[in-house]
């Protein structure tokens, strides 16, 4: 077995420092395995969130060598092990301890978004008929595992800290999933334009690049929502036509 060094952030709240831990590694190990090994052998109180260890629950988000990653899906064989591997918590959320951050803001934001409101069932037995094609368009968004790596990398949250005016890519994906749901009838555009700050996104696509589920966040979710917002609120001709249509 060979040895690698992991430079792991140890801290409470805003205070802390990197500490180096050397540990043995074997074929196929991922960063989360190394963190667990350090925890079991050298630092029993090292705080880390994890659950499924298979990239399905989105709990073990962190920054590995400065990149937002799921620790359970980051293989050591893809990292240069001749130098220390840095592992630190996400930056867009308040740190709690070591690798664990306070992501509760995301839960509060989600609660504010208008919930799914289906149209009346198509049949008396309470069922609907839906085309597979319509299902597939939304299924991409519903793959989201809520790891919040897209939120972490988004400069509006990470650098400008506009958490109170901007919901972040995760919740644009969520809103898009609801909006494009074949049964949904709710109107979320006014919220997106005003309260949720979709205008702050300047489509740098950082979120799309880090998504472990490969959701095309910017192109398939955010841009279509932006277009709808523009059509509704900023297009004078459209507004005029809309005015006549409503008559």
């Amino acid at each position: 077995m060979s040895t690698a060094t992991f430079r792991i952030w140890r801290g409470k709240g805003q205070e802390g420092r990197f500490e180096d831990y050397s540990t043995e590694y074997s074929e196929g190990m991922v960063v989360l395995d190394a963190v667990h090994k350090v925890q079991a052998e050298q630092a029993p109180d090292l705080a880390v969130r994890w659950n499924c260890k298979a990239g399905k629950c989105g709990s073990c988000s962190a920054e590995v060598n400065g990149k937002p990653k799921l620790m359970c899906m980051t293989r050591l064989s893809d990292l240069p092990l001749n130098e220390p591997v840095t592992v630190e918590p996400m930056k867009a959320f308040p740190p709690i301890k070591d690798l664990v951050t306070d992501v509760s803001w995301n839960y509060r934001v989600k609660q504010r978004i208008r919930k799914f409101a289906p149209r009346k069932p198509d049949f008396e037995d309470g069922t609907w008929r839906i085309d597979q094609q319509d299902v597939e368009r939304v299924q991409e968004f519903r793959k989201c595992i809520e790891c919040y790596l897209c939120q972490d990398v988004c400069h509006v949250l990470r650098d400008h800290r506009l958490h109170s005016q901007f919901v972040g890519p995760r919740f644009f994906v969520y809103a898009a999933a609801l909006d494009m749901h074949p049964l949904d009838t709710e109107d979320r555009l006014p919220d997106l334009q005003q309260r949720d700050g979709i205008g702050f996104c300047n489509i740098t696509k950082c979120c799309t690049k880090v998504c472990p589920e490969n959701i095309t966040i910017t192109d398939n979710a955010i841009i279509p929502l932006k277009e709808r917002v523009v059509d509704r609120f900023y297009d004078p001709l459209g507004r005029l036509l809309g005015f006549f249509r409503r008559k």
């Binding site: 196929g28 029993p44 880390v48 659950n51 990239g55 399905k56 709990s59 008929r129 793959k143």
Partner: protein, 604 residues
Amino acid sequence: MAEYESHEYDVLVIGAGGAGLSAAIEASAAGVSVGVVCKSLLGKAHTVMAEGGIAASLATVDDRDSWKVHFADTMRGGQYLNNWRMAELHAKEAPDRVRELEAYGALFDRTAEGRILQRNFGGHKYPRLAHVGDRTGLEMIRTLQDHGIHQGMQVYMEHTVLSLLKREGRVVGAFGYERERGRFHLWQAGAVVLATGGIGKAFRITSNSWEYSGDGHALAYHAGADLIGMEFVQFHPTGMVWPPSVRGILVTEGVRGEGGILMNKDRRRFMFDDIPDLYKNQTADNPEEGWRYTQGDKEARRPPELLTRDHVARCIMREIRQGRGSPHGGVFLDIAWIREKLPNAAEHIRKKLPSMYHQFMELAGIDITQEAMEVGPTTHYVMGGIRVDADTQMSTVPGLFAAGECASGLHGANRLGGNSLSDLLVFGKRAGHYAAVRSQEFPVGPSDSGQLEKVIQEALAPFERESDGEGAYQIQHELQDCMQDRVGIVRRQEEMEQAVKTIQELRQRASRVRVTGNREYNPGWHTAMDLDSLLTVSEAVARAGIERKESRGAHFRADCPDKDEAMGKVTMVVRKGTDSTMQIEQQAVPAMPDELQQIIKEMQ
């Protein structure tokens, strides 16, 4: 005494997977106040890992399906040790629960007519699993979560319950701690629903995460409730085996449902070599017929790869033990071969099994559309658990309810794939409903402060021990090795007796565990707090396994390899004796009413 925060709810739900959220949604809908306590963040529970689908006789793909067929399949799969009433309710109510989930926003894959598509799965006679690719569990938990957060329930994320509180013989609340600050919390409630999931973490190779330490089982046991069927632990036949760090991660049965075949190192399809009598009539006797079945041919019988999980797991173990395994100690699971049959096979596989494609590509560097996977059995599910009343889901302790994996009865000696997600929906809802009703008859009252003080003292003791005490991780690892090696897929009397002895020694060591650091988000402490649950459920599994001197369903004994007719009529009941030692008792399985017996006969 240390300080704690107090909360009051009509109904307290412990666990926020499919069963817990279903219970909380139903109780909230009944108009009572609901608190939900969960060990992880909301939406991360193990339900998220479920891949295959939700079993329900919607009959959208094959109109011969009905609740009766589903009932008979479930009973056959469970080797008739199931609680027949639960199997009946489950089969009758599952279709409505799936439709309800759709009304909450779940988007299932569709048939050409736009109805919910259903897929084949082991032990189910007709295509019965409503699904979303191979990420049905994610769709289900997210749908319940996104619906639930608007129902008014209060969720305590990253909180762990240490003890249930009782007064005058009934459960009146729970006491535990939060991870972030390590502070204690008291939840007083009119009724408590346990929905804590399984016990997989008691084994070394498992598809379960750290959370599955049998907390609900142990909490109920210590509160005086009966546990039944604990000898039945399901080893899923297909977990990943390579590389070592991913060993145990689940490979969905959906791979076989879509045409995947099992082969040994000689490329022989060994599943054709041993087809149990109970299933002979329903199983294909040649590869061609099996393939046609997976492609929806209603005249064809299912391939032997889709026999029940207990059987497939044992066949795989046989190949491995007899030296016909794959290079890393598994067997081959091949879906890539379907390119012989389908022109666009690679695309088809990526579409039908996206997470599997992703999982093998990312974690093992294997492209499943081009080469075979290596798989082997992994601890997956416990059929045993808290004994409940079939209709209300109340345990043998008044005020305490249980639903989902931590409850027992529906699955008997072996669970069919897909019956777990439907179990969560059907019995989660029932538990929530009846807990809400009960909470109106027994309002919240004061708790016994002496009881709280004792729990706090025990929880803090590891911080105060002398420096020679050992850490919790080592004990946990030794327990996992012990259970894996001695109470695993193939069991023997002496080995299980040896395991009971080891568990008792580990319990002694656990009472001297030392924790360093402080109470704030300290995994060393959390692991120490979980040890009691792990040790309790492990002992229950081993003792029940010793008592069942036969092989049936998931319980296979090399020293008693056959079924014993008399044993097929009894359930093993585990409970805490008055002297605090574990007692075990055999009780007769309740007789099935004639009309249900008739259904089983018709479906043979």
